[in-house]
């Protein structure tokens, strides 16, 4: 029997091709006669469009067409992008037009597209598109947006509130009025983005001979994109094939269906030529969706022993100019606050405000990092005020393993009651603290302080709903040459989907992993699909692969038994060969069996046999499966400059059964890097006219190799009872509590000055300002 694959550190099948420069990203796709596109975009955050004059642009040599909304197919002219995930709390479900016609609502909103011989010429021409704007007041800060004022983000609305909703359980009023201790915090979390290294890109090619439109897009959700496109172009779904080839990072923003993904195919149809559009980095900064600006006002009520009696507050969320994914993010944030703690009474009132900035949608963590930041700051506050160790405060409030499945009392974003299916939060935290040498920290802190260095430690816990539905299908098929083909609606942007599915299928079917060929992200390969977001693919596609693989295994065994003349329980499958255990140990290869399964022309099939060795499974989860984790960050702060160095970072991580530890560790480490960015570096700034100010990698700071330590990761596996593999999602856990742990550690490092931090990113200048206000520099004179 071949070595066990499930759970093994199998090196990735994707790697040889990517390492030799043979990856195929959208910009690597070339066809004959290809033209190149560049969008003309709004330079103002809010304006009425009086006229768009494309004549100068169209006259430039090498330009084939300049299209505005009026040149789009009738159905697309006035159409708005579809909104995924509607919700009754949404008052105005505004989404973007394909190309702006009357009004632009954020800097970068597309209003025309130039098609030319080269991207160079297209850019030259785009600058010549002359727009007659009537500038309107722009709403920049979401706090201003909700005050009744003259500035409206949209002319079509009479206020800037897209939605309000309340999540609650128990009775907070009663509890807060009688609680021994109530502590409040104001928390600010600034804008940031996913910032994949590969920008967005679309190639559209029409094959007139067969009436097929093929679109390549750097997307996380090709099946969803295809459905959107079919509606907008008014074409049969089957006449469109949408392919997400190699994608250079997703992280959330590439799950959105963008106007450009509709306009480029429309232009290709109109011009009858293949068209390529590759976004540049500056466009990405302006137009790819982002996350946050969130302002929280939260309070916690506890008894004398630090037991939580209730949590309540308000959340103001900046959704930008549109809501392509409804209110998913603030909703998830509101539902995530209780985390691993027993919170018997809870109420959060959320207001979702419209501003004249690009829309905010889920980015790695999808609102959970913000919720965890709020809750963990409250827990630290309790610890500080009641003089109890922060780990102890958390311990006293954990949901215990014996309480699983545990009902939080809220409804989750999947419409189901929020019920944690499994988990051992005390064990996860204990494991983290041990690995972090938490017990000895006070000594380390004192030793550093003697040396003039300020060291601090911070803890943060989270619970994360993963593996969301509705489904992700897998077709497993044995080919006549013995290879096993796997087609899935799951997609890949670096998380090793091909490898993990190959591991599962090879083990469940009984073939070698080298013989498995995975096609992912291609609507031509499997009929129904959803895509990558919310850490859902290992659960859904993994489970489907297991179910389909096992079905195919049964078919192989049955057929082999018939042809080898033995009973089914006498058949062994090993490395792609079916062997009869008794007699001469006769065998047949999977390839031979596949040929037999095709049947013979003119002959009837055997009574209980279906053609081929194949099976398609669509695992549909009943609800989310809940991961959890504890992060412990140890930092040193240069009190004179505010510089922060992370000296140690521990992750205790429960994402259920692990398919490939190499890949899961990579996801955790990569997730922590995002978290460090959120905590210390990433701040998408806009001025008071809602003009983006940080639009280069020199201004918007991503963590570099000297900023991200190698994490110490330990896995605690609480298998999920909700799917056949026991897996849970692993893509976002690294990010979710990171900012909370790091800011907590910074505050601890500077505790002798009594400073308090409640914002992200926490930048050196801010640390210096707060220290100065606290009088630290009078004391520190001696040290410098």
């Amino acid at each position: 029997m071949g070595s066990k694959l499930f759970g093994a550190r199998v090196t990735r099948l994707e790697d040889p091709s990517l390492l030799t420069g043979r990856g195929r990203y959208v910009d690597d796709v070339k066809t004959a006669g290809m033209l190149h596109a560049c969008f003309a975009r709004s330079s103002l955050a809010h304006a009425r469009i009086n006229a768009i004059d494309v004549s100068a642009a169209a006259a430039l040599r090498g330009v084939h067409a300049v299209l505005t909304a009026l040149d789009l197919p009738r159905a697309m002219r006035k159409a708005r992008m579809p909104m995924l995930v509607p919700n009754p709390s949404i008052a105005t479900s505004l989404t973007q037009h394909c190309l702006a016609q009357d009004e632009v609502c954020y800097v970068g909103q597309p209003l025309a597209v130039v098609i030319a011989d080269s991207r160079h010429i297209a850019e030259d021409a785009a600058l010549l598109v002359d727009v007659d704007y009537e500038m309107l007041p722009a709403v920049s800060d979401c706090r201003d947006a909700v005050k009744s004022s003259d500035a409206l983000a949209h002319l079509t609305l009479d206020n800037n509130i897209a939605a309000t909703f309340r999540l609650e359980c128990g009775n907070v009023e009663e509890v807060f009025s009688s609680a021994p201790h109530v502590f409040s915090e104001q928390i600010w979390q600034h804008r940031g983005g996913g910032m994949a290294l590969e920008t967005r890109a679309v190639v559209a090619v029409l094959d007139r001979a067969i009436g097929q439109l093929t679109v390549w897009s750097s997307t996380q959700t090709p099946h969803i994109a295809r459905r959107m496109l079919a509606d907008l172009l008014d074409r049969d779904l089957e006449s469109i094939r949408l392919i997400a080839p190699d994608v250079g990072g997703g992280f959330g923003p590439k799950a959105i269906f963008y106007a450009e993904e509709a306009v480029i195919p429309a232009a290709a149809l109109k011009l009858g030529r293949p068209i390529k559009w590759v976004e540049d980095r500056r466009e990405h900064f302006m137009c790819a969706t982002q996350e946050r600006d969130q302002y929280w006002n939260v309070s916690i009520a506890v008894d004398g022993e630090a037991k939580i009696l209730g949590v309540r507050g308000t959340l103001l969320h900046d959704t930008g100019a549109f809501l392509p994914w409804g209110i998913i993010m603030p909703y998830i944030a509101a539902a995530t606050v209780p985390g691993p703690y027993v919170v018997p009474n809870y109420a959060l009132d959320t207001t979702v405000a419209l501003t004249n900035k690009v829309a905010t949608t889920p980015v790695r963590g999808a609102g959970r990092p913000q919720a965890v930041f709020a809750m963990e700051r409250l827990m630290d506050r309790v610890a500080h005020e009641l003089h109890i160790d922060p780990a102890e405060v958390r311990s006293r409030n954990f949901v215990q393993p014996a309480q699983m499945p545990y009902s939080v009392g809220l409804t989750f974003r999947d419409g189901k009651p929020l019920i944690y299916d499994s988990g051992n939060y005390p064990l996860v935290q204990e494991t983290a603290l041990e690995l972090a040498d938490y017990a000895d920290f006070k000594e380390r802190k004192a030793a550093a302080r003697e040396d003039g260095r300020f060291r601090g430690i911070g803890i943060a816990n989270y619970v994360e709903g993963t593996g969301l539905g509705p489904y992700e299908g897998v077709t497993v098929r044995v080919l006549p040459n013995g290879k096993v083909s796997v087609a899935t609606g799951a997609t890949t942007q670096g998380q090793g989907t091909r490898t993990t599915l190959s591991q599962i299928v090879a083990e469940s079917v009984g073939c070698r992993i080298e013989d498995v060929q995975v096609v992912a992200g291609d609507t031509g390969a499997i009929a129904q699909g959803v895509g990558a977001f919310a850490s859902r693919q290992a659960v859904n596609a993994g489970s489907s692969a297991s179910v389909a693989g096992k079905t195919v295994r049964t078919q192989i065994v049955k057929l082999a038994a018939r042809f080898l003349g033995v009973t089914e329980d006498e058949i062994d499958l090993d490395d792609g060969v079916a062997i009869a255990k008794s007699g001469n140990r006769q065998s047949m290869t999977f390839g031979e069996l596949a040929r037999l399964a095709q049947g013979m022309p003119g002959f009837a099939m055997a009574p209980d046999q279906t053609p081929g060795l194949e099976s398609t499974a669509y695992f549909t989860p009943s609800q989310a499966s809940y991961c959890s984790g504890t992060h412990v960050a140890e930092v040193e702060v240069d009190a004179m400059t505010g510089a922060v160095k992370i000296v140690n970072y521990v992750v205790s991580h429960d994402s259920g059964t692990i398919i490939n530890p190499l890949i899961v560790d990579g996801q955790v480490q990569g997730g922590v890097a995002h978290g460090i960015g959120n905590a210390l570096f990433e701040w998408m700034k806009y001025d008071e006219n809602a003009q983006p100010v940080t639009t280069t990698f020199a201004d918007y700071l991503l963590p570099v190799a000297t900023d991200v330590p190698t994490c110490k990761i330990v896995h605690v596996e609480s298998p999920s009872p909700l799917n056949p593999l026991g897996v849970k999602g692993a893509g976002e856990g690294g990010t979710i509590p990171a900012a909370a742990a790091i800011v907590s550690a910074i505050e601890d490092a500077l505790s002798e000055f009594g400073v308090h931090f409640t914002e992200t990113p926490l930048v050196p200048e801010r640390i210096v300002d707060v220290l100065r206000e606290a009088g630290a520099y009078e004391v520190l004179e001696e040290m410098t």
């Binding site: 790697d15 040889p16 990517l18 390492l19 990203y25 690597d28 160079h120 590969e198 991503l702 991200v708």
Partner: protein, 160 residues
């Protein structure tokens, strides 16, 4: 006005006519179909476009093809030996040094220069050199482990 250039890439000479404003990155990717070099920012920060010019790492988005006239360029496509992964590439596969692969080509070229100039780098030195390349997927740990592993193997091979 177009100019004729002669540029050697991975040991092979190419003659083409190019516009002065065509960057070396775009020349490699679109004129020569060597799409292994990637473009992430076009303003010289992310390092995805890193190639070697006369053995020295360079941001090919900040060089014009006309500047490369008469020079020798090395790209990721030139690293493998007879179609097999070289020691550095093997180390990346063994140590999970890549996820989406978009930054990888540039990082491989940066590390090729480093390990040639400094066969026994410390972790600190590896991280410092890597600050010129952004990665959004891996959190750098796998990349650093790959670099140190490759350095170790290369030293063994050459009896260092």
């Amino acid at each position: 006005m177009k100019r004729e250039v002669s540029i050697t890439v991975n040991g092979r000479e190419y003659r083409r006519e190019v516009e002065p404003r065509l960057t070396l990155a775009d020349f490699l990717r679109h004129d020569l179909d060597l799409t292994g070099t990637h473009v992430g920012c076009e303003h010289g920060v992310c390092g995805a476009c890193t190639v070697l010019v006369n053995g020295r790492s360079a941001r090919s988005c900040l060089l014009f093809a006309v500047q490369a006239e008469g020079n020798e360029i090395a790209t990721v496509e030139g690293l493998s030996v007879d179609g097999d992964l070289n020691a550095l590439q093997c180390a990346f596969r063994d140590n999970h040094g890549l996820q989406c692969g978009f930054c990888t080509s540039g990082i491989l070229m940066t590390l090729t220069e480093l390990l040639r100039d400094n066969p026994d780098p410390t972790e600190e030195q590896v991280r410092e050199v890597l600050t010129g390349n952004l990665c959004r997927c891996t959190g750098y740990a796998g990349i650093v482990a790959s670099a140190l592993d490759a350095a170790h193997h290369l030293r063994k091979e050459s009896g260092y």
